[in-house]
Symmetry: C2
Amino acid sequence: MIVLNSLISSFLFLLVNCYIIDPGPTVIATKGEVWPKPYSQQNSSKYYGFRPVLFQFTLTTDNNCNFLQDAFSRYHKIVMTEALRGKKSFSFYKHLHYKKQTLNDDLFLGYLDNLNVTLKGDCKDDEYPSSTMNEEYELKVDETGANLVSPTIWGVLRGLETFSQLVYLADDTVSLRINLTEIEDKPRFPHRGLHLDTSRHFMPVDTLLVMLDAMSYNKMNVFHWHITDDQSFPYVSLKFPELSEKGAYASTLVYSPADVKEIIEYARLRGIRVLPEFDTPGHTRSWGEGKRDILTECYPRPNKTGKLGPIDPTKNSTYEFLKEFFDEVGDVFPDQYIHLGGDEVGFECWQSNPDIIAFMKANNMSDDFVGLESYYIQKLIDIVDELNSDSIVWEEVFVNGVVLPQKTIVHVWKDVWQVTVAEVVDSGRQALLSTCWYLDHLGSYVDWHDFYACEPYSATADEEKQKLILGGEACMWAEEVNEYNVVPRVWPRASAAAEKLWSRKDVNDVTDAAKRLEEHTCRMNRRGVAAQPPNYSGYCL
Amino acid sequence: MIVLNSLISSFLFLLVNCYIIDPGPTVIATKGEVWPKPYSQQNSSKYYGFRPVLFQFTLTTDNNCNFLQDAFSRYHKIVMTEALRGKKSFSFYKHLHYKKQTLNDDLFLGYLDNLNVTLKGDCKDDEYPSSTMNEEYELKVDETGANLVSPTIWGVLRGLETFSQLVYLADDTVSLRINLTEIEDKPRFPHRGLHLDTSRHFMPVDTLLVMLDAMSYNKMNVFHWHITDDQSFPYVSLKFPELSEKGAYASTLVYSPADVKEIIEYARLRGIRVLPEFDTPGHTRSWGEGKRDILTECYPRPNKTGKLGPIDPTKNSTYEFLKEFFDEVGDVFPDQYIHLGGDEVGFECWQSNPDIIAFMKANNMSDDFVGLESYYIQKLIDIVDELNSDSIVWEEVFVNGVVLPQKTIVHVWKDVWQVTVAEVVDSGRQALLSTCWYLDHLGSYVDWHDFYACEPYSATADEEKQKLILGGEACMWAEEVNEYNVVPRVWPRASAAAEKLWSRKDVNDVTDAAKRLEEHTCRMNRRGVAAQPPNYSGYCL
């Protein structure tokens, strides 16, 4: 790293006071453009006035769907915030009536005070979002009014988000408008995730809820919660409370069962899956504080202290513990999938331990440590399989040749990702991509342009195999972030990934995206998300 | 840039999920250590209990110095916040009396409820900090009590900051303590600045006030306000209101005369100079919105539109305007110095303009555009000189061979800074250094280690010439920051520069600094500064 750092920094010191001598014109935000860009949209210059105070959502289908009623009140608050721009709420409201009489503009169609919402399918109030949920919807704003139609509650949520983004502040900076438009929308990829590490630095629950809000504003649908790692174990286990009692940074820096419930429910109401990751056999140092016996004892060697290493894959007691632990995880987290990690396992400690060596001899592994890793992961996957959960693993597990069930999803995060993704789908397995969207990788420039340039299908030209690419995740590892900087570090950079994963393949014009992202960032700011500026210069009104 | 960016990003993509497979132990914060490290300090394990509610500051010298009374109430609030840690304020208070009876610890000396402050020199309530202010102080906490002595109000401010940092939360996580200590302190460099650009993105006044608070917590004493640039002109001029009316992003995104007054006074009370920069002749595009005639008309050429370029140095009207404008700047900003910029002047536009060419011919400059730049800067410096202000310029002005008065300070920011600083001090002029501390240069690692490794004296071994190195500034250019991310982007990274500029040359142990910076960052967080985490792992209680 040291060499790499100095290399990077020496490059950085080539930079100048302003990146571009002539920075060109300031990027001006669009008005009422949708992020991520819908599958298809026809716009009109005709428009309605919009009065948040009078506006209401109407569910046409005669059932009382609490799930959607909750979403309606949430989005009513959101469009209300638009009315409070410039703190004009009251005069603004008077002003509108005044305008109504005086506005002499044949593009003006009067006021839109209602959105009809038609849910074609069932409303199960306690339904959880899943990897197979249907998120498509149709939204029409025409001379007859506004209509949102979807077969599912998830599609309705996405449509409500789109509708809320269509409302914009007119040039008079006082009145709100929504243009006539016709939108058919559906995601390009079913898995559009944000990965967040809460171990290197702890993130309070409120911070996670803001993240979930922001995800819903970007139509992301998987919160990949990398909840534990070497540095701390903030998850309060019901069966093994000692794990957090001894492995958390402090007794206050934990996620109680009630916290976890709250996060899962908050996410559910926004159509977001919570995908838990308990990374093993590496990245487990903090587990050893509470459960020393599950980790490998590293034997003293030159330049080595006798500290603890990865999970000890040779003891039956290890697997008895893991079975109990992941049984709890399966109960606590409703999602069908559990992320099992499996990345970056160092072999030095296993090598130093005579019991491990003896076990390997006895099992004809000689010094095949990859084989030992495979032995562990296979047993773990079998455990999770018996618990009726499905597995996702980081790419090393696949690349190292572990025999995986066909249904195990492989999460690609390293360089030369096209090669690895191709190998995964060639094997008939499903792949997730993160390499392009590592939010902890920083450069002294507008790096969302790089995030935006990533095309997952560049891994394979085979259309059947492309279907095995489920999508991807923007990853926020927490070595350098905590509650004080994680929100602006993630947003709007993750928004670039969100559009790549939702919008059509041919949506790749960075100049057009820059203007829409300027508006979308200001929109997130108004909604309480401290997103950082997306472009070299710009402003929010 | 594009090439550079992809170079950097390709390096970044070599990074891994955790930067170090074994990240090593979590950095544990120190307790009651001072940042930046004092010139000399003797510690003792004996300690007093500290009760913020009962604590008071006493000015021994029988004058009523409002400036210090204001500082006392400010620091009383600050030590109170320590009492509110863990929201224990009330039970905490009861608890203390309970402890007083029961605490059986011969290191415990009872409670320290007073700090005697002795100001040896005069207290002028309306005094402004200056480049020659004396900031030294002595602080003793011994068996007889606590005493702070300084010849100046500025030294008292620094001593109060140090005192507030000595108070720490005991391991019982309930009671506050302060150890016996003996401190003699003074800054290594007189100029310890934070540079902030408010043009690429606008920063609200409240954000600037938080920056000033944080500067005082780091004993920085110069707020270098890069107030205008190409992108926007947020400064409301009394004589030329059209500059901001047309050159600001919006009528709400400006600094009114009242705002500027507030910022200067807020800084003064914290011993911070406000050094205004109005950068010319380049970086002035926004000036042209309100004063088109002062900029050079760029003539259409292949791949060139007829837009406006740098200030037109050939017209008398230009200098008449500048004289009026800087006369106002001198009145509004009390500091003796004005930063005149002078960086990154592109010559293409001057080259394209026949009037400029004709002027150069007439003045025997032929195609010597550096000569034309020199002609401009010399006239500008003369104007400022006549207005009885002194000048600071970016290094290009010196490097390009402009004939500068000996008293003009040269601000070095480019690479190979040792060479440039050496040339400046060889010329007998004073130098400021910023190259090492460019906060907009980002890397995917703990980059304050690099900031901390910078040694200004490495530019020259000549002790007489070293005295001409006044110090330096951490620079925050605003292409990628605004109110939502500027505070964590600057802090605690700028704290590394602050310690390099205040503490002794031999204070350079990064391992020791990491622990103290962990505490200092948590301290800033408690005081309302959203500083980001300084180390790969860590936490605040």
